[in-house]
Symmetry: C3
Subunit: 169 residues, 3 copies
């Protein structure tokens, strides 16, 4: 009798096919990859992984600012998290040439600008997580940490960084 | 003369033997692996590592809530960090079948719900760190970051995520 | 026609040569690698990477404390971030024997003790980022996340953790 791996484990080898095509299908146009606002680079490829720097919430060239539990409602936060996710993808595409090189979305860290009374960081973070699943399908299902922080760069309402596993090709 | 590697470096090859057995010895019964409260998965295996999503502090099916420096004392925080650590192990075991596949605990990130006056995040985080050493022995010694955050999902008092290195088998 | 990789991608194989020599050239004397203040280790080597635990801001044996937006100005924060970066390098050197084993600085996470009004975490974090570029040159250019947190261990004004890719030798 051979052991059956747990259902939720998906081998990295099961490459996401056609993430670029899927973007087009969904009518998603990635933003222009933003230049880092400081002394770092947007992405580093190492050990078969692509590490993407924390991206803040640019939408239509404007930054989405504010704080959940204070001046911003859940829907605004979700929209901002999606905007961060789009910028993460824009940086990955700029670095890799094509999102099709991504075999798996491994991990997202989602930092939500929060008062000490706001406790629904997971729903905010879904704005970014749902985007990954829309674009990559099963290979888009990722590990995640979502926390509420006191302050973010330029008063962005959300910041998201990411680790992607790359395929052999 | 050959170079001697620094004592604190432990090769990943030195596999933890019997973490499952050690759990039993210690009388530790892992909680039921909690379903993610949002659009992500509890674990992703990639590049020989297992990435575990941020786990909040469930104990006996109830969430341990509150904030250090405000309504919670150090011991409560440590207990919550241990509860997060147990859930991290429960997720790893559900994904891997056996904790014996883990060769090394690589990194824990410990987010402590803190007022701006509470500064003993390291002692809180030890609740999770000591558990790893209890269960994995030397292979349980890990890198760590512990920080105080403004707010956590569902008002959990602690959140812990993890990276494990997997053995060849 | 062959595809040209985007300029910003640097292969990990392009090893930083002479980081130890560069430290000397710059007149930088690393601090004594601090003992962890809790149940963890300063570094773990796994999967070709060195994971360095979150380092707080020791300078000349004293901790740099306080909060941006409150009792500390930008320059103090930058100096503290550089102090964290120096301790990250001290831990890496203690673990590896020589910084020359580092092929690439992959990722820094920079946690800045911030009030909810301070939003220039990127400029603070540059204290650590610029140090990496000074010491490693192009191989020092890294991915980064910088966020503002409510509180840090021992009231440190900054905490920095790191992932380094190691060379074949």
């Amino acid at each position: 009798m051979t052991e059956v791996p747990p259902l939720k484990m998906m081998p990295v080898e099961k490459k996401a096919k056609g993430a670029d095509a899927r973007l087009e299908e969904l009518g998603i146009i990635l933003p222009t990859a933003a230049a880092p606002i400081a002394s770092y680079v947007p992405t580093v490829e190492a050990g078969g992984m692509l590490y993407v720097s924390g991206q803040i919430a640019f939408k239509d060239g404007h930054l989405m600012t504010g704080r959940l539990g204070d001046d911003r409602v859940l829907e605004y936060g979700q929209d901002a998290a999606r905007a961060c996710g789009l910028m993460v993808l824009a940086q990955a595409k700029a670095a890799l040439g094509s999102l099709d090189r991504i075999a798996r979305v491994v991990k997202l860290n989602v930092f939500v600008n929060s008062t000490d009374r706001f406790t629904d960081q997971p729903s905010v973070a879904n704005g970014a997580s749902d985007l990954m699943i829309d674009v990559f399908g099963e290979a888009g299902r990722h590990a995640r940490a979502a926390v509420g922080v006191a302050a973010l760069p330029r008063d962005s309402v959300v910041e998201v960084d990411a680790v992607f596993a790359l395929g052999a090709d």
